[in-house]
């Protein structure tokens, strides 16, 4: 019987297989950041162990880093200690580090792909659940805990329990104004936050094949919000074109050998998935969340649902709690929800295409009065590219704040947070209670919806802008 893409990559990394034991898998790339690594390095030190493969390991600083005044000492002493701990650990163990201020610094899941380190058919791990992002290249990429970080540092392997396979097939054309973010939010709402549990999801079908690498990363990034172990997309010409010429992409003869291998990384026609979901791209529209988990979402044109409409008592209770926390009432049109903050950034939507699409909407328009809009590039490289294209000027002219790269308001570990009761439209990945700051309320949206929302002050799509703004330049 044929094998799926995930099974092929897995099989190519088995170091040891024994009956009744998890497979021991070799890890091709280990990404580190300051939050989930200190206790792992500490464990190595206590056991007198080193890092087995410093040449397969790379670190950056992202979760705690400020997005303003980065040349000044970090104000929060606890954040400062955590960053200093990473610097000390990387120096002691010989790990390559891109600290705050470095041109390759940024959100770990933006940095790996742009350096060309994330490649098809590799195994990628990081002490961060959004490691699933790298699956967009046909890599098998898992988020791991700190104990596993220590394990990989010491052995470059991980014992991994077997997984199930799920195909999510999206056929057809995404309608105008519907993005990868809308698609993945709709998928999560359909299968639920536990729907992918135990599975590696492979996204396939004509709508997926048409997506750019960056859009594919947005999709795979949020596989974890559907509960999946990982998400993957088979590598193709789009993938190879993205990689060719990047710093760490293979060169010369290695490039040809790599491409020959990468072309084998497709699910065989006779392979069988454990579960299959089919979605018609044409039925989708801009999608936003109304609740406090990423599965509580609806089309922007819908109303806040009535908890009484849920048959499952635990879902009903969750919806009641969510409406209470979010300060919403059943039946309220989602378009009428006003926000005071808009955040564009994160490993989900902090890449150059995301910034371009938000800028295209903001060009010639202004952020609504009383709305704070933060633009946080996913990495310094993304930031430099945006500046070279003049996007920063578009954002600041519209009244948005142009910030330094990092995770920022996605999780509010740095000073970029919502105040209690504040409401955001955010291009990030989690709308959990307090995620963006204690008492803060989050609506997950695409960069386009974020930009239109910033202009109008309430949840909106670019289509809503046509009759309210006469200054719209051609082509927007």
């Amino acid at each position: 019987m044929g094998r799926t893409l995930a099974e092929k990559v897995w099989d190519d990394h088995v170091v040891r297989r024994a009956e009744g034991e998890p497979d021991l898998l070799f890890i091709d790339l280990h990404l580190l950041h300051e939050v989930t690594s200190p206790q792992a390095f500490d464990g190595l030190r206590k056991a007198g162990r080193g890092v087995r493969r410093t040449d397969l390991t790379i670190a950056t600083e992202d979760h705690n880093t400020p997005t303003l005044d980065i040349d000044k000492p970090i104000a929060d002493p606890v954040s400062r200690t955590q960053l200093e701990t990473l610097r000390k650990n990387c120096a002691e163990f010989g790990v390559r580090l891109h600290p705050l201020g470095d041109v390759e610094q940024g959100v770990v899941h933006v940095v790996g792909p742009q350096l060309g380190l994330t490649q098809p058919g590799t195994t990628v791990v990081c002490g961060d659940s959004h490691t699933s992002t790298h699956g967009a290249f046909g890599a098998l990429a898992f988020g791991i805990g700190t104990s596993q970080v220590e394990h990989v540092l010491a052995t470059q392997t991980l014992p991994m329990a077997p997984f199930k396979t799920m195909a999510i097939t999206v056929e057809g054309e995404l309608p105008e104004g519907v993005t990868a973010k809308d698609l993945i939010l709709a998928i999560i709402a359909k299968i639920g936050t536990g729907g992918g549990q135990g599975y590696v999801i492979e996204y396939r079908g004509s709508a997926i094949e048409k997506l750019s690498m960056e859009a594919r990363m947005t999709i795979c990034n949020m596989s974890i919000e559907a509960g999946a172990r990982a998400g993957m997309i088979a590598p193709d010409r789009t993938t190879f074109d993205y990689l060719q010429g990047r710093d760490h992409a293979p060169r010369d003869g290695d490039w040809d050998a790599a491409v020959a291998y990468w072309q084998t990384l497709r699910t065989d026609d006779d392979a069988v998935f454990d579960a299959e979901v089919v979605i018609d791209a044409a039925t989708l529209s801009p999608f936003v969340t109304w609740g406090t988990n990423p599965g509580q979402g609806a089309p922007l044109s819908a109303n806040v649902p009535d908890p009484a409409s849920y048959e499952d008592p635990s879902e009903r209770f969750a919806a009641e709690k969510a409406l209470e926390y979010m300060g919403l009432t059943a039946g309220q049109p989602l378009r009428e929800i006003s926000v005071d903050t808009v955040f564009v950034g994160s490993c989900t939507n902090g890449r150059i295409e995301d910034l371009r699409s938000a800028a295209a909407i903001l060009e010639g328009r202004s952020v609504a009065e009383g709305v704070r809009m933060l633009i946080v590039p996913g990495s310094v490289r993304v930031s430099l590219e945006a500046v070279a294209e003049g996007l920063d000027k578009v954002f600041t002219a519209a009244g948005a704040e142009w910030r330094h790269a990092g995770c920022s308001m996605c999780l509010g570990m740095n000073p970029d947070q919502l105040a209690p009761g504040e409401r955001s439209a955010s291009t990030s990945n989690r709308n959990f209670e307090g995620r963006q700051g204690k008492g803060g309320r989050t609506h997950l949206v695409s960069p386009q919806v974020a930009a239109a929302t910033a202009v109008l002050g309430h949840l909106a799509s670019p289509a809503d802008l046509s009759d309210v703004d006469v200054a719209t330049p051609a082509g927007v």
């Binding site: 170091v15 040891r16 805990g145 010491a154 509960g227 988990n293 999780l411």
Partner: protein, 197 residues
């Protein structure tokens, strides 16, 4: 890791689904660089409410958490497991756990037990009506026992053995040195490297 064989203690019912790791331990706690001292961060936002179940006098000192479905979703932070353990929990029972959380818990000796939702409901009702009721989580017999409830649970044999013996994963893997070295010797040259060594 401390070995887990069997544990008997009082239990706390947490009647919420989709308890994500941001609720278990909020992000600002993740700046610590140790594995201890997280107990005050556990369910920090909810504990501000005096009515929250962990604040109820009757449930003080409980060591088993009986949670709703999809417990531990979200971030990969192992701090969530450390916070539960630092607070005093030895086991968590739910009908479904998020994968990364479950992996993290088993690596730290916090036993996560999957039981059918109806059994979880019965346990929650039992400890709600009688907070002094004890719940036994027996890994040797793979069984949860409480008044009126005896329920077997599944855990793969390898994970169970590691827990029962309190084995350190890294030292077990290091026994495979020759297999790892053999694999490394055969990796294709086109695979990426972060630095030249």
């Amino acid at each position: 890791m401390e070995a887990f064989t069997t544990h008997t203690g009082r239990a706390v019912p947490l009647r919420r689904s989709n308890v994500d790791t941001d609720q278990i331990i909020p992000a600002h706690w993740l700046k610590k660089v140790t594995r201890d001292g997280f107990e005050d961060g556990l369910f920090e936002a909810w504990r501000k409410d005096p009515e929250f179940v962990l604040n109820q006098e009757a449930h003080k000192g409980a060591t088993v958490l009986v949670a709703g479905p999809d417990f531990g979703t979200g971030s990969s932070r192992e701090h969530a497991v450390w916070a539960l353990q630092n607070y005093g929990f030895k086991a968590v029972i739910s009908s479904r756990f998020a994968d990364i959380f479950r992996g993290n818990s088993l690596k730290n000796g916090l036993l996560t037990v999957v039981l059918p939702q109806e059994t979880v409901d019965r346990l929650q009702k039992l400890v709600e009506s009688d907070p002094t009721a004890e719940v036994t989580v027996d890994l040797v017999a793979r069984e949860v026992r409480a008044e009126g409830v005896t329920a077997g649970f599944e855990l793969d044999e390898n994970a169970r053995w590691r827990l029962l013996e309190g084995l350190d994963d890294i030292s077990l893997t290091l026994r495979e040195e020759s297999a790892i070295a053999a694999y490394e010797a055969n990796r294709p040259s086109f695979k990426p490297r972060t630095i030249e060594v």
